[in-house]
Amino acid sequence: MALSIPYLLSIITFLPLLGAVVVMLVPGDGAKKWLALATTLITFVVSLLLWTNWQEGQAGMQFVEDAVWFAPLGIRYALGVDGISLFLVLLTTFLMPIAVYFSILYVDKKIGPYMALMLLLETAMIGVFLALDLVLFFVFFEASLIPMYFLIGEWGGKNRVYAAVKFFLYTFAGSALMVVAILIVYYSTGTFDIMKLQSTVIPPAVQTWAFLAFALAFAVKTPLFPFHTWLPDAHVQAPTAGSIILAGVLLKMGTYGYLRLAMPVFPQAAEQFGPLLAILACVGILYGALVALMQKDIKSLVAYSSVAHLGYVMLGVIAMNAQGVSGSVLQMVNHGLSTGALFLMVGLLYERRHTRMLDDFGGLWASVPVYTGLFLVVAMSSAGLPGLNGFVGEFTIMLGTYEYMPIFAVLAAAGVILAAWYLLTAFRKMAQGPITNPANDSSNLKDLNIKELIMVVPLVLLFFVIGLFPNLFFDKINPSVEAMLETRTAVMQAATAEQMPALQLAEIVVTEAK
């Protein structure tokens, strides 16, 4: 092992919280801004230690921390990271400085509370991906609502209060039943330990109800059709940095929840309801894409495209085979980067023109070529052009889905075509043709400056890195995914074998599998 840093995961999780406290205490807007940026940058750098100190090929949790949190119920403060969560953590720490820097450039209303909330949000998001205890997971999962609620409600667009309240109540109500499910699972297995639950046989009756409750909570968060209606409101109304984080990271909590909890912990129920979820995912892909096609506001176009894109991630997760799941993990990161970048580009344009209507643009190629070129790359990454990141993830998911049920792969492929269609349509309306509106003239519209390029270029570079060298990532993702799937198969076999006490058998099979 390379040099080991004690409490590395706790440090990554709570550095932003510390930063939030400091930001609230220091006087002066300038100091607050730069302290917030410094916090996110330091957090990012520290989180890179996960990458450099990674134990290649190891499937299990790394950098594990485990302490008693609440003894009477066996609730633990347990953190760990494996190939599945590693890149989601890195995605979070990578997107945060960009979002914060964007806010430094363009947000001037009450910057102190704004930055503190952004940092609190970062702590909650990282916590969700690192938690190994169900209760701890839930606490972070719910705690993320509060900062996001204020970010939308205070710094959002015209309809922000409605969007904020809808966002909060939808997700809060969605996860209400999950609390009961968590308790039911605890009393039928005696543990809140997520990894232990994955290798435990849970009675079928418990599985069904618990799975439905978990699935509902994560379906709202993801969002899966028909629970998606809060998303367009929240996205369109949120401030740009909020949208970047909401689309980039927050939605992943839902798919991550499926991947880490709902699907592997309740394998039988998951298999039973898999086709239903897959249908919903496909409806989401097609519906999201078609609605996106109709949008006149670029931001709501991107919002609906998220509904469609998360559908792919869901398909891979539902397939529960190696390609599907690995593809989904990578696609979560891809969607975070691509959609985050799309919201960033839309935000940059909005700050110049104070409109997001497609009809107000046209001919941007001529006036702002750098912006337009980068926008095209971002759009193509989102559409899944080979050579860029989106393609790798979607293609792998398709393989997995085809292996699961070919029909869903066919439907998903149709969604890919639609995605190219609405993104290119949007691009055509914005960038091509003659300049009809003098406000789009090169004399009135400034191209990206250095400060803005600093935010966009790293994202675009990552598109190429992932698109051209996907194995850099798959090498870390795959062992964990395979181990999870093996455990799952073993548990399912144990559940069907009736001779031996189910729990013991599961443990035997699991140890053999390893």
Binding site: P72, L169, L177, V180
Partner: protein, 491 residues
């Protein structure tokens, strides 16, 4: 249970004794300082606070071996002492809130603080009672005091109405309760919990009489903790009583009555659980749902908190339907969390009240974040906590109570309770929306006539503990654990 009942170990009633002595001291100090120029006697609340502090110290010191007294009619064990800490927290914060408030309402402050202490002692008796007659004693001690305090503002019609209503309906409820005690005695030949349980176990109890008795007791208890359909008085009394009294009532009454309620059902009539379990489950569903739905429509903050307190009584009742020891510990956690977050919320209401009024409309909060950012911030903490959002105390409170429900096989009840907390989130959130996203209007609080340093202190304590209990739930359980481990009266 200890059979050496002959030797009187006064440790078992030491907290209550200290409290009563403190009340007497407050009255004496009051009388000795009448006349002259110190009409307001500003040191009285501090004397009362000292009494509360000593009692809390005694309670913590006594944690350890359970001791019973008076032939097993009273016990001091982990749970009764934990309950003492809950009621004492409520009393201490209520006294802090009263320091500036009460002299403006009624200048008999000596009686006021003495009554607060006596009421607290009654609540503590309820937590320690192992006999229905002792429960009744405690119930009446604290009810009498609260009838007086509700009508403290004699010039105010609402306050008079509150006192009258509370007294009349409370007298009815007491009658139900005593009648229930009579039935239970008739059915089992005893009013003592363990003897009642033994009679059922031996099969000598007349079950139909016993069930009638239990039903009447539920009505009596139900009135005190405002379960639907015995809740009618709550909004009017909450609104009419002076706000520190309301705040104290919302915590202390619930704490005392629930403690006795739990102990009676778990240790006195465990064999009848299949019957009363269902009755309480249905009451819990009605209470939560009606409380939350009615709260959605309130504009008066005190009425809103009244209905919210009805809903919270429903949540606590969820654990009782299962009647396991874990449910009792969950309920205690709920009560201590509720004490901090609700006291905090009422402290804000006090600051929002206009000169001479004893209630505030929710439009006083509009845009509060712009005029009083700190107040808005702590109020948000209380609202999110009341809604049950982590990482605040209200989340673990619900989690522990509902855990007991799920453990006892009442998952559906826990599910209804969680859905209810999602409804509840709406009206708590509405307050946050109003504070943060509305613009200040002419109605918005500018300068509070009730502002005083002790209120700031109360807000600080309430906010710190609302967060601390949400992040480190073992703070509380470690404190009372020694006692809970050694609890005698539970099998």
């Amino acid at each position: 249970m200890s059979s050496a009942a002959m030797e009187l170990n006064l440790n078992a009633v030491l907290p209550e004794l200290v409290m009563v002595v403190a009340a007497a001291v407050v009255m004496l100090v009051d009388i000795l300082n009448r006349g002259g120029r110190s009409v307001t006697r500003p040191f009285l609340p501090w004397v009362a606070l000292a009494g509360v502090a000593v009692t809390a110290g005694v309670s913590i010191w006594l944690l350890g071996e359970p001791v019973s007294i008076f032939q097993g009619m009273l016990i001091t064990d982990g749970r009764s002492l934990a309950l003492n800490l809950v009621t004492l927290t409520g009393a201490a914060l209520a006294i802090l809130l009263s320091i500036r408030y009460i002299p403006a309402v009624n200048n008999q402050t000596g009686e006021y603080y003495a009554l607060i202490l006596l009421i607290t002692s009654g609540m503590m008796v309820m937590g320690a009672a192992l006999d229905l007659m002792v429960v009744f004693l405690g119930l009446e001690i604290f009810s009498m005091g609260l009838y007086i305090l509700a009508g403290l503002k004699r010039s105010d019609l609402r306050s008079n109405e509150a006192a009258m209503k509370y007294f009349l309906l409370g007298a009815f409820a007491s009658a139900f309760f005593v009648y229930g005690v009579a039935f239970v005695y008739g059915a089992t030949g005893s009013t003592q919990f363990d003897a009642i349980a033994a009679a059922q176990a031996a099969g000598t109890a007349d079950l139909s009489f016993l069930y009638v008795g239990i039903a009447l007791l539920i009505a009596g208890f139900g009135f005190k903790v405002s379960l639907v359909p015995f809740h009618m008085w709550t909004p009017d009394v909450y609104q009419g009583a002076p706000t520190p009294v309301t705040a104290f009532m919302s915590i202390g009454t619930k704490a005392g009555a629930f403690a006795a309620f739990y102990r009676f059902f778990v240790t006195g009539v465990p064999d009848a659980q299949p019957v009363w379990g269902w009755a309480l489950a249905i009451l819990a569903v009605l209470t939560m749902t009606l409380g939350n739905l009615a709260a959605l429509r309130q504009t008066s903050l005190k009425r809103l908190l009244a209905y919210s307190s009805i809903a919270h009584a429903g949540y606590i009742l969820v654990g009782l339907a299962t009647a396991t020891p874990a449910a009792i510990d969950g309920a205690l956690y709920y009560l201590i969390s509720y004490a901090f977050m609700n006291m905090g919320a009422f402290a804000i209401v006090i600051l929002l009240e206009r000169q001479g009024e004893m209630d505030a409309l929710s439009n006083r909060l509009a845009g509060l974040s712009k005029t009083h950012p700190q107040l808005a911030l702590v109020m948000s903490v209380f609202m999110f906590s009341l809604a049950g959002v982590p990482p605040f105390a209200g989340f673990f409170a619900k989690f522990f109570v509902f855990a007991a429900a799920v453990e006892g096989g009442w998952s559906w009840l826990a599910a209804i309770a969680m859905l209810n907390s999602a409804i509840g989130a709406y009206y708590y959130l509405r307050i946050v929306v109003s504070m943060y996203f509305d613009e200040p209007t002419a109605e918005t609080l500018t300068e509070s006539p009730n502002y005083s340093l002790p209120i700031t202190v109360t807000l600080g304590i309430a906010a710190v503990f609302t967060i601390a209990l949400g992040v480190l739930p073992s703070l509380w359980t470690n404190l009372v654990e020694t006692g809970v481990m050694g609890t005698l009266a539970l099998r």
